[in-house]
């Protein structure tokens, strides 16, 4: 925008009073705040001895997991919508025809570069079958970059680890909408 753009509104600075010009109240104010905090209570959580209390594990955006369908197969249908939505371009999928007669397409390989991920949760939002979800595991670490690129097996194992503590979204939604209008029901339960 050019500085003489007509749409710019120039706002006048409020004039300084005598107190402001003497600078003393500002000096005092600054140092008071500082001193107050110097002695104040500390916020630091001493990880790893202490753990963060996660208020809403279902809403938390931590490590991903790939959910399984009723028969324990990967639920993902390899639609690439998560990869499309991902702003960090960290999801890599290779799709193929599924080996199962009742399903058409499935991810032959599915990897997420957890180092590149910004944990925005867009993939979870985008997934039409609730196959990808973010868990409340937040302290992932690894000794190499390769180790932090999670493949399908690893992502499924995260599901196995967390499925009891954090039930699948669609399962919760179904329970919630059983009595509500059918239109808002999640479509994910259908084997697509």
């Amino acid at each position: 925008m050019k500085s003489d753009d007509k749409s710019i509104k120039w706002v006048e600075e409020p004039p300084l009073g005598l107190a402001g010009r003497s600078y003393v109240p500002l000096l005092v104010g600054g140092i008071t705040t500082t001193l107050k905090h110097l002695a104040g209570p500390k916020m630091t959580v001493e990880s790893p001895e202490q753990r963060h209390a996660i208020v809403d594990p279902l809403g938390y955006r931590g490590v991903h997991r790939l959910n399984r369908d009723a028969q324990g197969r990967v639920k993902c249908v390899a639609c690439f919508l998560c990869a499309t939505a991902c702003p960090a371009h960290c999801i890599d999928i290779v799709a193929a025809e599924s080996p199962w007669p009742d399903r058409e397409k499935y991810p032959e390989s599915f990897t997420i570069d957890e180092l590149r991920c910004i944990f925005c949760g867009m993939c979870e939002e985008a997934c039409p079958v609730d196959a990808i979800e973010l868990t409340s595991l937040y302290d992932l670490s690894g000794k190499s970059r390769e180790e932090m690129i999670f493949d399908k097996a690893k992502l499924l194992s995260v599901y196995d680890q967390t499925k009891d503590a954090e039930p699948m979204r669609s399962a919760q939604a179904d329970r919630a909408t059983d009595s509500a209008c059918p239109d808002s029901g999640e479509r994910g339960e259908e084997p697509i």
Binding site: D4, E13, L16, Y23, T34, H37, K42, T44
Partner: protein, 407 residues
């Protein structure tokens, strides 16, 4: 021979002390900063391979080791010679400064030994001039480094820094002149002794000079609220954007040493040096016990000033560059001159009549000083504009555009 050994010992003590102090002051700074921000700061690194933490006392060592072993990346576009030389210039200038800092004089009480002057170069008659002169060499380190980096952010940082350092040297010098005038000597020992003798620190008699000196030394050491040279939000890292590894460490340590030197000067010139009422005595030469007390008092004062530096960092926001320059030339320099003239008038015309009148001389002196501060401050306040028009001159913009279009 004896002199050489004595000097070497002093140098060793000073350098060792300084490096250790710089390292641990970084830790202090980090922890103080953390506390001010409601955090805890580095508290984990203790003795390696054990669980012993020691409040994070191992952190500076870990930091140092990391700096030394980090890849020292030299970008392809730099002027190699200057790029390598610049941090060294800065570092050396910051270190040799301490040669003239006096810690007092001790008489070991051994027969045949002259009292030892606890300063690397004893008897330097122009101590204060030496310090001011050497500390300005730092400008070269900054300017060369930023120029050699061949990076626009570094260059901006360097240019800002040069302008800032040169501008603030003037109020700094003027404030020092007031002290020099009052003590009648350029020797730092003499300045301290003068304060110790009367028991009245210069800060009490020349609060205006102290203020000017304090502000100027903040600016000279490039710390918040005057760290325009490396303001991260605008300039990445300022003049050391392109530096890494041990060269970066030299820059950072040199900056720290500047702050320490500034604190030493403040204590020496205005806060009575090693003197403390009732504790340290007031004669120039002391026995070994008193000398130790004096050193402790001196260091404690310096530490207090350094802590003030650290706390100030989180208390007041950074100035804008035009405000910074305005402050130097339009406020600090006049205030410094007022102080200087005041001191001169006092010495030339008022001291003699006062001595005759029998009023308590020290009290009057202090009262006069504070009165001067109040009046000068009020004057500065009245002269300050209540608002500044920061809008760009739109006619200039339009004219610029027309001329471009015409081309």
């Amino acid at each position: 021979m004896y002199l050489v050994i004595e000097s070497l010992i002093k140098i060793g003590v000073i350098i060792g002390g300084l490096m250790g102090a710089a390292a641990y002051l970084v830790l202090v700074e980090r922890r103080v900063a953390a506390w001010i921000q409601d955090r805890r700061g580095p508290n984990r690194v203790g003795i390696p391979l054990t669980e012993i933490r020691l409040f994070g006392l191992g952190q500076p060592i870990a930091d140092g080791v990391k700096f030394i072993f980090k890849e020292e990346f030299v970008p392809g576009h730099v002027d190699r010679l200057l790029y390598v030389a610049a941090p060294m210039v800065m570092f050396v200038a910051a270190t040799v400064l301490f040669a003239a800092i006096p810690f007092g004089t001790v008489d070991l009480g051994i027969a045949g030994w002259a009292p030892i002057n606890l300063v690397v170069v004893p008897g330097l008659d122009v101590g204060i001039i030496y310090i001011v002169a050497v500390s300005s060499i730092a400008v070269y380190g900054v300017l060369l480094g930023s120029w050699a980096s061949n990076n626009k952010y570094a260059f901006f940082g360097g240019v800002r820094s040069a302008a800032q350092l040169i501008s603030y040297e003037i109020p700094l010098g003027v404030a020092i002149l007031g002290v020099v005038l009052a003590s009648g000597s350029l020797r730092l020992e003499a300045i301290v002794e003068a304060q110790a003798e009367t028991g009245v620190w210069n800060v009490l008699t020349q609060p205006l000079g102290f203020l000017v000196f304090l502000v100027a030394s903040f600016a000279e050491s490039g710390r918040l609220p005057f760290d325009l040279a490396e303001s991260e939000q605008e300039l990445v890292g300022g003049f050391h954007t392109e530096y890494s590894g041990i060269k970066l460490m030299m820059y950072l340590v040199a900056e720290y040493l500047h702050m320490i030197a500034g604190s030493f000067l403040i204590v020496l010139l205005f806060l009575g040096g090693w003197h403390f009422w009732g504790l340290t005595g007031d004669g120039p030469v002391a026995g070994i016990g008193v000398a130790l007390v004096r050193i402790a008092v001196f260091l404690a004062k310096v530490l207090a000033v350094i802590l003030f530096f650290m706390i100030a960092r989180w208390s007041w926001p950074r100035f804008r560059f035009d405000q910074l320059m305005g402050l130097a030339w339009k406020v600090m320099l006049p205030l410094g001159l007022v102080n200087l003239v005041g001191v001169a008038v006092w010495i030339e015309y008022l001291r003699a009549p006062l001595a005759v009148s029998g009023l308590p001389e020290r009290l009057v002196m202090a009262a006069a000083g504070w009165l001067l501060l109040g009046v000068a401050w009020l004057a500065a306040m009245a002269a300050a504009p209540s608002a500044r028009d920061n809008r760009p001159d739109l006619s200039l913009v339009a004219r610029y555009r027309d001329s471009r279009e015409a081309r």
